[in-house]
Symmetry: C2
Subunit: 442 residues, 2 copies
Amino acid sequence: MDALKIGLLGAGNVGAQVAKTLVEERELIAGRVGTGVKLIGVAVRDVEAPRDWKIPGELLTTDAEALVDEADLVIELLGGLEPAGELIARALNRGAAVVTGNKALLATRGGELHKLAEEQGALLHFEAAVAGAIPILRPIQESLSGDRITKVMGIVNGTTNYILDQMDTTGAAFEDALAEAQRLGYAEADPTADVEGHDAAAKAAILGTLAFHAPFSIDEVYCEGITGITGDDMEAAAASGYVIKLLAIIEKTEAGAILRVHPTLLPRTHPLASVRGAFNAVFVVAENAGELMFYGQGAGGQPTSSAIMGDVVSAARRLRSGTAEVPGLREQAADSAVPALPIKKAETQYYIDMVVADREGVIAEVARVLADHHVSIESMRQPGSVSAEGEVDVEGVDKKGAVVQIVTHLAREKDLDDTVATLKGLGVVKAVNSVLRVEVEQ
Amino acid sequence: MDALKIGLLGAGNVGAQVAKTLVEERELIAGRVGTGVKLIGVAVRDVEAPRDWKIPGELLTTDAEALVDEADLVIELLGGLEPAGELIARALNRGAAVVTGNKALLATRGGELHKLAEEQGALLHFEAAVAGAIPILRPIQESLSGDRITKVMGIVNGTTNYILDQMDTTGAAFEDALAEAQRLGYAEADPTADVEGHDAAAKAAILGTLAFHAPFSIDEVYCEGITGITGDDMEAAAASGYVIKLLAIIEKTEAGAILRVHPTLLPRTHPLASVRGAFNAVFVVAENAGELMFYGQGAGGQPTSSAIMGDVVSAARRLRSGTAEVPGLREQAADSAVPALPIKKAETQYYIDMVVADREGVIAEVARVLADHHVSIESMRQPGSVSAEGEVDVEGVDKKGAVVQIVTHLAREKDLDDTVATLKGLGVVKAVNSVLRVEVEQ
């Protein structure tokens, strides 16, 4: 058979690396696929722009549509919703295979694009969209296809993990850690998508879609970023044996799925707690497999290009053997539909940090409020220490009152909200500093 | 299309769980595959034997060959070389798909069976053969198919990891830790295959075959077990910040591949160092992807059945869509042949623990021997401590002499062997207690 014609859309950091691999490793790729592959063009906005790897001039074009119309396999690395979405739809409509790393697009229009791929019998691969080089989507779609996934928790945004790790290890303030991340190129000039959790939320939607065999969009993901995390939060968490991580959590309950992204206290002994710097890791719980963890580099041109090229080889093998196959979404007939539930339905543990009046009976009053809302206390701590007899000593008490830190047992988000609202209205509570969710080991 | 006919060979711990899933989760599996699946029979030696899950009597048969001849997909869970090998060959010759977890067979006759599968256009899946529930083979075959894997290091035997972890954390002797592992069911009555490293060596051959796209057999794996590891070794390693793990290591050098299994010192900060108890983990280094780690349960009926069922769904999807595809081995045309090299060609760091005469000039004499054999010293330690001025104090010295522990820089296995032989012949060296290999972070 003739060499497979590959069209590449976009030549940024990842795109240039992919072009380099397709040109320089052409024989290796052909060997792995079992047939020749040929990069027939690279669509860019500006032919003259400087690139990590100098793409041969004859490959560059500004006519993305013509390139899509000629290719057997289209690699989309433009990012953003348009024209990426339109070009992918155009390729799928022709029956061409598509490999993309576009998480924003998949989290917004994934359901529609999967459906189009199915109707056209076309391939749509997107391993690079979540956790860069870490193979996580294929294991979920294939290796765990005979099991039931109940929960996925991931550190899927390297920028925020770097920032939180810096705050934890060096005591840096959020702003300083962010500035350092920007200086090192881990964070963009406008860091909103990362620090507000939007990037992680897109990945949560994709993970949920594959793990629960039902299409979820980013609008169904509860999202809370890390801009509110202070050095005090970090320090208080550390003092109690926790570390704060931004997690994307997807979870199946009897009623449906809950997808959420928020800063989370993790015990230092949790496998995810030791994920440092800009690394990513995804923790998966399945009924039979038990607990699994996948760890590696979540971003960067080279790691991401590895995931893209894995998808390219995979898709090319299937094109060669004449089968389109998009497992995971198409094969869901027997899985009952899984609705997305609002965060109010979530059950998790909570950490509450507050300042109360320093007088007798206050703790009892606070505990009463929690009990009234069906929130039970796993541990209570006053900075300073509680003596063996249960007497609270006077460190941690200042003119403003005494700091009290509570970790609850599993509680419903709604009950917790009501609890916090009531606490805030209580005369003896001077301030609620922080309310954060906690994940303990399964 | 009619329901796919599945024949199961073997109904032990894993087999009974697989039968249970195929019967009880038939709708889920059918949904995931996109067509019906039907367990048509379970071949066993003794129909009356007690089992974890009571398989309906009408499914049980002692005629494995007849079952193989009727099935579209054969799940082989008999273990051992025969009749497993013969039955798998029989199924492949018919063009039936085969799913197996038989590492001993694959590590011995894998090349031949892969070839047969290719010739017949039949599927051969075996994710469960390495690291139980952890998806590691499919990521290597598919996700990393566009990258070059340079090294894989795995804790792939839960029994030995449990024993070493017990020795490390409780100070238990090897014999006591082994007895405890046997009591808990982690080790068999005859623990040879585990503690001598044979099980890990089989997995190393399989990992090497997939990672380097060339067939390796267990005979090409250097293999050293953990029976020689003493409490003293453990303690000395701990004192220097290391932990001892049994690793399966496969590595590509310019001249070829080196496959080896041996006890290895790892810095406590290495991602593999914190893998506890009977868990497994595999660390993969690829040119573009960088460092990846996969972690989870490596054995047990439920976890292993998850991997088997993932392969079953995957194979059934391909049968439904009419393609046989065995990526990884067939597609190796353009990868240059990779010969297996003997352990003598390995380059690694070494730890040497010895007793020397306690008099002036001895260390210089020892250092001279290493230098003469092109082995350079990364660190030297005398139990007791070296004072700030570099003076060695007298702890660690007894009537027999002084203990000296050396960690070398990267050295060739052959040079190290010669070094140790020379040291043993040296008048001032009273004993060489241990020689162990060391892996540091990349």
